[in-house]
Symmetry: C2
Subunit: 250 residues, 2 copies
């Protein structure tokens, strides 16, 4: 028998936070999901974004960092707000309602949730499930078709925001290895955008924003013409993160 | 003596919505504010964005439309979410706390708010204060330096989103008169951006996105060279609202 949540009087029954943590493993765009403890008809219906109610003495960004850490072990992640989700029937799926009754002090309370996203390099983090999460793992974004509550809608909204964000600001500094080929960088953009890009066009655009420095190293021992390695030019990269770029899209 | 709020059991004590309604009067960017009924040290400390708690049986967008209508009479306005604001001390100003005690059933409850914005033509709407609003009027955005709760932060965040939004999508269809000069259109962009724009540059950019059709009419009876009138090309305008433009900024 599972415990109900610890009933601190300052646990707010009406407001939760949810995290969409995207991860890149140099090949694919993934998302961090938990399987919830409890009786579910199948594995899939256990799957949810890491999320929980907030305490009244914490700001939303404190809450989302705490909840992410409690459920998945991930810490010190810069999270950006996606927005609030407050549909009246967002917690009305029968499997979710049963689960809420098993864990919540006020399982029928209206809950609006504030969702956040981030994009991290998968190899930098080792998820470790705890609290009501029995697992915390990375899943390919394009294989997810449904999630608990309205989490699938939240995931898609977060993905759209991420895709829009990369038209304004450089990304990859914390996702790519220190040295990388242009093909590897293109693969990252393709994984996030969910579509393939024209190689020549990509190279022209990425060179134009001036965030890369060529190294004098090349790939070796590869079955094709060895590609040159590049690094991010840290100063230019950081200044573009601040200002954003005006005239850019892939 | 003022009434406390009508205590419907489904009034959610923890979640409110707030509206940032920007208005354009062909000259300046304004924002719709209410003066709250009650005892305040001065006029200025009465000023707030229109906002109130949500009911549990309404979605957030239903709530924000209802609250806007109840306080200001404005109806049928397309509102876009700015995001959630949940600082623990967002309602801690003494004047605000006193006002909450005079009106709220649970004046000390933690309240997170979800803010929305819109941009309308001022002459299309006549604000009419009701409920706890004693006035509802337009104020010049650049003259507002403080507001109730965290509403000044919300206003600034909404303004930033509006400014970013106009780099992606055409605006003005519902703000400008049917026929307008390029100078008038430039004035609208300048009012929103809060800075002046180079005339030649503005004209080049606005013609490039192909949303304007020249009419064969010109200004008359003006003390300068009469300017040509333009109209929006409705089809091109609407298609750009859908897709957004990639390579544009003022």
């Amino acid at each position: 028998m599972r415990r109900k949540e610890i009933i601190r009087p300052d646990l707010n029954p009406n407001v939760s936070v949810d995290c969409v943590i995207f991860g890149f493993d140099f090949q694919q765009l993934k998302v961090l999901l938990i399987e919830r403890e409890g009786d579910f008809p199948d594995e899939k219906s256990r799957l949810a974004l890491p999320g929980n109610l907030i305490y009244d003495d914490e700001n939303l960004n404190m809450a989302v960092n705490r909840v992410l850490k409690e459920l998945t072990g991930l810490d010190n992640i810069f999270l950006k707000q996606i927005g609030a989700f407050g549909g009246v029937d967002r917690i009305s799926k029968e499997t979710d309602k049963e689960w809420l009754r098993s864990i919540r002090a006020h399982p029928d309370a209206r809950v609006i949730t504030v969702a956040y996203y981030s994009l991290v390099r998968i190899s930098d983090y080792l998820p470790a499930a705890s609290s009501f999460a029995v697992t915390a793992n990375w899943y390919n974004v394009d294989e997810i078709k449904d999630l608990a509550f309205d989490h699938y809608t939240i995931l898609k909204t977060g993905l759209n925001q991420l895709r829009r964000e990369i038209s304004f600001r450089p990304i990859g500094f914390n996702l790519m290895p220190e040295k990388f080929t242009l093909g590897q960088l293109q693969r990252m953009y393709e994984a996030i955008l969910g579509r393939s890009l024209d190689k020549r066009n990509f190279r022209r655009k990425i060179m134009k924003i001036n965030i890369l420095s060529a190294t004098d190293e090349k790939e070796y021992d590869v079955p094709h013409k060895p590609a040159q390695y590049f690094k991010f030019n840290e100063a230019n990269y950081k200044s573009l993160v601040e200002t954003g770029f005006d005239n850019f899209s892939f």
